[in-house]
Point group: C2
Chain length 211, copies 2
């Protein structure tokens, strides 16, 4: 593993900063003050300034930080030098969307294989990724540490446990189900309901203002 | 709009708390101390205790907070009493997955219509939602304030601007593209690349320990 130069406490705030800055960028904002950032992400200004100094971003008085520069830095930091192979479990609509998405072409994370319980999908490919029958998991998955779950909710727990037994260390869970795994397995859950609810909640309670 | 009983500063921390607690729950953890929470979400313990008191969650000394109770509270708070209609733009694999997902059946957010540029999809339905040709946007979308974008990245900006002109106030952007909209439009961006990169980053730099 390469040396991690950013303190762990700072690194843990990266996704927080990233998400907020990404939203700003989408609204066409090119700069942000540490005060605005502080209010939005609920981290005090002094900590933000110290964190950002690790990123080589020195805010200018009366200007603030360059949003695009920071986003570029976060993207390159999150990108790894080492290649990571990922297995996708469940080639339904969502899984197929993932396989066809070209979003992974520019970085070092690769979906190298996909699995489905449907015999008719086995032996085919989608987006250049071979699809195997799920019975072949044991034969094929060796050396893969990350899996994306895009299967029906009711199969999530069984699949997760089988993956963990086969050496998977990290799971990106796109099913609405919560899964129970040992404490050394990292699970990130993208809950589409919550993402939509959160947007609606903020829309109703905190309307934004036109400039 | 109904009265919002939680202070705005507290409400803004909800998604932060939600995400962390959801991960804990998935790892099978049933309780959490305010110290652990504080370290994870980078909010000081006193603030967390005050926030949680609004949720009716009073941590017990030597026990902490009940993870499941808190999650239940967050879910019901994010759920709205008013029904919100949502339009989905782009009935490809990702859009179709959304339409078939049963994740929205239990709350007050409904995808009521979908649009696609493909003439052969118009007039059909998916998951019980009617699909219209995108030329019908102007006729159909009146009264809808939220849109989900599941179209190719290169069409995202044009589509977003057209939606804003038609009165859309909030956009859930699932394309890899950033979109530029007026400052009073709320955009939440789910960047699948970043979600996967973030999982891999944490996996490599901060391995979790077996209990």
């Amino acid at each position: 593993m390469e040396q991690n130069k950013i303190p762990q406490a700072t690194a843990k705030r990266l996704p927080l900063y990233y998400r907020f800055l990404n939203n700003l960028y989408q609204q066409g904002k090119m700069r942000v003050s540490s005060k605005e950032l502080s209010e939005a992400v609920k981290v005090d200004s002094a900590t933000i300034r110290r964190d950002f100094s690790y990123f080589g971003a020195l805010g200018k008085k009366g200007y603030g930080y360059n949003v695009e520069y920071l986003l570029g830095f976060f993207k390159s930091t999150l990108d790894q030098h080492e290649i990571t192979n990922v297995a996708l479990i469940g080639v339904g609509n969502l899984g197929t969307a993932f396989l066809h998405y070209n979003f992974l072409k520019n970085n070092n994370i690769r979906i190298t294989m996909a699995f489905d319980a449907d015999e008719s999908k086995a032996g085919k490919e989608a987006g250049g990724v071979p699809i195997y029958h799920v019975d072949e998991l044991e034969d094929k998955i060796e050396g893969t540490e990350v899996a994306i779950l895009t299967i029906p909710a009711e199969e999530a727990d069984t699949a997760a446990n089988r993956l963990v037994d086969l050496g998977i260390k990290g799971i990106l869970n796109f099913t609405p189900a919560r899964i129970t795994v040992p404490s050394n397995i990292r699970v990130h859950h993208i809950d589409l309901t919550v993402e939509l609810q959160s947007l609606v909640y903020f829309l109703k309670h905190y309307p934004l203002e036109a400039e």
